[in-house]
């Protein structure tokens, strides 16, 4: 074998001392993650647990009404108080976690799939199709997102699924634009040309190089999207077009509770806090992941 190799120690290149084993790497990850991200991560884990296994935290039936005990202030028997129907707000907030997070996730997924299809197609296509898609996206931007959402609701009724679809469609143009830019960047990246000069076919490059690389920041987009989708959907609930009663969807609870603000602030406060919390934690974690990802590229 021909070699001009020498032992690593004598190659005079600065070696990064901290990229050694996986053990060290984990340690570095732990140390380089700010406390805020840890707190957000822990809260997020709690939310996800509540979503997946609400029974872990449920002490009362979230749907059981008790008009005689309506508007109870937070206290020992009801940690977050009761609502206008005497339902336990803590239980409802927990029972609603699944729906709200699922809604956020589904809406983001729908937005990303639609936006991704448009954006990636535009990014890899020729000038004509690209500018046609861009125009279309431009029109969707000029088109009020709320209208898009309301039309979906008008066509298919209300409910969590529709809300997710509505919010997803409403956010699709943004994702389309983002993913088109991302695709253009990937397409122009030298490693794509490298794949070509290695003799890869165009379809192979599209499937194995372009799409996976466009999809790289997807996880980040999803975490960032969930929070925003929940906030968006809560606006639909505010307009009375969100989840259906008696669903314990946060936005709907908040919208209901606003009427009782002056006698029972807790009805609106807790779902409001949870919406903000969900958006906040997913965003913080998402931003952190994004920074890490950017640091890698």
């Amino acid at each position: 074998m021909t070699t001009i190799a020498r032992p690593a120690s004598t190659v005079q290149e600065p070696a990064d001392p901290l990229t050694g084993g996986t053990h060290l790497r984990t340690l570095r990850l732990v140390r380089s993650t700010p406390a805020g991200v840890w707190i957000a991560g822990a809260l997020l884990v709690f939310l996800v647990l509540a979503a997946v296994a609400p029974s872990l935290f449920l002490r009362q039936d979230p749907y059981e009404i008790d008009p005689a005990n309506a508007f109870q202030a937070p206290g020992a028997s009801h940690l977050f108080g009761t609502d206008q129907n005497g339902r336990d707000i803590l239980s409802r907030v927990i029972a609603g976690t699944g729906q709200s997070l699922l809604l956020g996730l589904a809406a983001t997924a729908i937005g990303l799939i639609l936006g991704g299809a448009l954006g990636i197609t535009a990014g890899v296509s020729g000038k004509r199709l690209d500018s046609a898609i861009c125009r279309f996206v431009e029109i969707l931007f000029a088109f009020p997102g709320l209208l898009l959402a309301l039309i979906v609701i008008a066509v298919s009724g209300t409910g969590v699924v529709t809300a997710a679809v509505a919010v997803g469609i409403g956010s699709a143009p943004g994702y389309a634009r983002m993913l088109r830019t991302q695709t253009l960047q990937v397409v122009a990246a030298p490693y794509v040309e490298t794949a070509l000069s290695l003799g890869r076919s165009r379809s192979h490059i599209l499937r194995h190089t372009i799409i996976p690389n466009v999809a790289r920041p997807l996880f980040v987009l999803v975490t960032l999207g969930i929070g925003q989708s929940i906030v968006w959907a809560s606006s639909l609930s505010f307009l009375g077009l969100g989840a259906q009663p008696p669903a314990a969807e946060w936005g709907a609870m908040l919208a209901d509770g606003r009427n009782y603000l002056q006698i029972a602030w807790w009805i609106a406060a807790f779902p409001g806090i949870f919406i903000t919390l969900a958006a906040l934690t997913t965003t913080v974690v998402g931003h952190h992941l994004q920074r890490r990802l950017e640091a890698e590229v």
Binding site: A142, L146, L147, L150, V231, L254, A255
Partner: protein, 309 residues
């Protein structure tokens, strides 16, 4: 260039209206029911027939579309199904309040965002963390929730601002803030990262090596770079502010296009819906134009990505 841009704008307007027109035709809900007052009214069959004829609803959709377009070109937006008055009389008075609201909201959002950026970026881990967290927090707030809180606190309890209405600047403050606070979170996030980026650029160091103070460097060099991506975001924001203003309009009982739009869709008031879409699209186009001009003023490089000569 100008001609091409104008043609593009007309195209976007046309497409937005056309899309709305046909999509609305696919949504359930008989316009006649809308015209006759919906639930609670019990019109005779003759009335229904008369309405159909009067509004041309008995004609094929394509014909309705063409005549709508024809009228639109002459500036006629038609008659509202619900209010039975010319659409322009309904939305005409709403345009200015909405633009004022959206404009002020954007201005507030920028003030808050820039305050965050200038006060917390690059000023130590603690301030940086506080700024970052507050921004994300703001961006995570549902606007209507902010609106209600502001109304309860500043109008009902403290009485500093009017609860509702649309007379004068004072009544504009709270609604604008309720839209501005979440938006400021978004703008601040992008300005923060571009400000951070700018501060890390060698030209900042150059300026400091010339003897400039930290404050001067921030204000005269970094800030200008930092607002560029926020400007682009603003173009999008104003378009969406006009329609998402609905929550502020409802809470603060203001006239405005947002409420017109939502009510029009909910009640299938097609002419009003179309007109609002038209105006929002026009606003979007104009704002984009303005932002482009502004962008060029801030960044005189012809090619925004920077080109080597």
């Amino acid at each position: 260039m100008v001609g091409k841009r104008a043609a593009g704008s007309v195209f976007v307007l046309w497409a937005a209206v056309t899309l709305t027109f046909f999509v609305l035709h696919l949504t359930p809900g008989d316009p006649v029911t809308a015209i006759l007052g919906g639930a609670g009214s019990s019109p005779s069959p003759e009335t229904v027939a008369a309405v159909r004829a009067q509004y041309g609803l008995d004609r094929p959709v394509l014909l309705q579309y063409l005549s709508y377009l024809g009228n639109l070109i002459t500036g006629d937006f038609g008659v509202s199904y619900i209010f039975k008055v010319p659409v322009i009389e309904i939305i005409g008075p709403q345009i200015l309040p909405t633009l004022q609201l959206a404009g002020l909201a954007l201005a507030f959002a920028w003030v808050i965002a820039l305050a965050f950026t200038l006060l917390t970026v690059g000023r130590g881990r603690l301030l940086d963390g506080v700024g970052r967290t507050l921004e994300v927090f703001f961006a995570s707030l549902p606007p209507f929730w902010v609106g209600i809180m502001l109304a309860v606190l500043f109008a009902v309890i403290l009485g500093w601002f009017p609860v509702a209405g649309d007379d004068g600047f004072r009544s504009l403050v709270l609604p604008a803030l309720s839209l501005a606070i979440p938006l400021s979170g978004f703008i601040a996030q992008v300005t923060r990262s571009s400000f951070e980026e700018a501060l890390a650029q060698p030209f900042i160091l150059s300026a400091r090596a010339r003897g400039l103070s930290d404050a001067a460097v921030r204000l005269t060099h970094a800030l200008r770079h930092a607002i560029l991506p926020g400007l682009t975001l603003s173009a999008w924001a104003v378009g969406s502010l006009v329609s998402s203003a609905v929550v502020a309009e409802i809470i603060f009982a203001r006239a405005g296009l947002g409420r017109s739009l939502v009510d029009a869709i909910i009640n299938r008031d097609m002419p009003v819906t179309l007109a609002v879409v038209f105006i929002i699209a026009a606003v979007y186009i104009l704002v984009n134009l303005a932002v482009d001009l502004l962008y060029r003023a801030v960044d005189p490089r012809t090619n925004p990505t920077g080109s080597a000569a």
